[in-house]
Symmetry: D2
Subunit: 102 residues, 4 copies
Amino acid sequence: MSEIEALKSEIRAFADARKWEIFHTPKNLSMAIAGEAGELVSEFQWLTAQESMKGSLSSEKLSDIEMEIADVAIYLFRLTDVLGVDLADVMRKKMVINESRF
Amino acid sequence: MSEIEALKSEIRAFADARKWEIFHTPKNLSMAIAGEAGELVSEFQWLTAQESMKGSLSSEKLSDIEMEIADVAIYLFRLTDVLGVDLADVMRKKMVINESRF
Amino acid sequence: MSEIEALKSEIRAFADARKWEIFHTPKNLSMAIAGEAGELVSEFQWLTAQESMKGSLSSEKLSDIEMEIADVAIYLFRLTDVLGVDLADVMRKKMVINESRF
Amino acid sequence: MSEIEALKSEIRAFADARKWEIFHTPKNLSMAIAGEAGELVSEFQWLTAQESMKGSLSSEKLSDIEMEIADVAIYLFRLTDVLGVDLADVMRKKMVINESRF
């Protein structure tokens, strides 16, 4: 099993154990992704570009950012699972489209 | 190389070829993630929960959603690359934290 | 009628004329706000702080930003109308809370 | 002074008293709006359409939602102030554009 599939499977087990399937509609998951992306952008909102760089972040701040990145990713992987989407495949398809654009 | 590392490397090559490193500060990438998450949530905003389900989506709509998922993922993977974050590792750390919460 | 009430009333007339009440649930409107906020942040994502200043923006770029600001505001005013919320009142309440925080 | 101008002036006084002008670039304010819009959408993410309706919300939940609406509005009004944008004017311009679209 690929790494992404393994993560999807772990997230699914977590949700199933809590009987969260009923809440995890694609619509609701898209909201959760937007909510977590909002928390991620909040981490950076008052930082200058320079202050946002890896070398400038305190380990505590980096840890907070990592947890927000994880939240976005967990809901994003969950959405791909619920919709039966192959994440690596659609990322590569989108990069091919971007190649022709830029 | 793991699947996630392979994807990060492909995204990095794409950005480097266009000399986009200067734009890809963590601050700016967090904005790009929020922007793409906004486009993803827009795809679902007027659908009912039922209409958002895999079986109810037209193939064209699903394809639009896949491209928005890909955009969020590309910028999210790019951010983890720029910050030196191990995505699978932080996702699993966050799930352990969530285990104790829920 | 106050300026905000007048705008809410105009937005309501627009929505009613198109029979959009059924779509304009608070849940859906919160998604529309997040979607439009995503478009607004996208306008700024590759600009430096300096380039984002009023004096640095081209009139075309400023016009694009104004339209995104308007979109966020239209859905936000619509949400306050649907929920029966007095916007000026809650803004002032929140500022009092913020006074004690900062 | 119009109600919107009065609110903008109160928000400006609040920011000036804390010497926040340096943080309140248009770029940073667009991030703050996206962040607060993310918190607003989070309030609704696990509710059904019906549960999100005014009549179904507890007074505590409605109060939480009001505070998130206020946060989005405060930063949105602040952005219009910093950019010298007439909010009511751009909202009406956008509604005219929307008239021709829908």
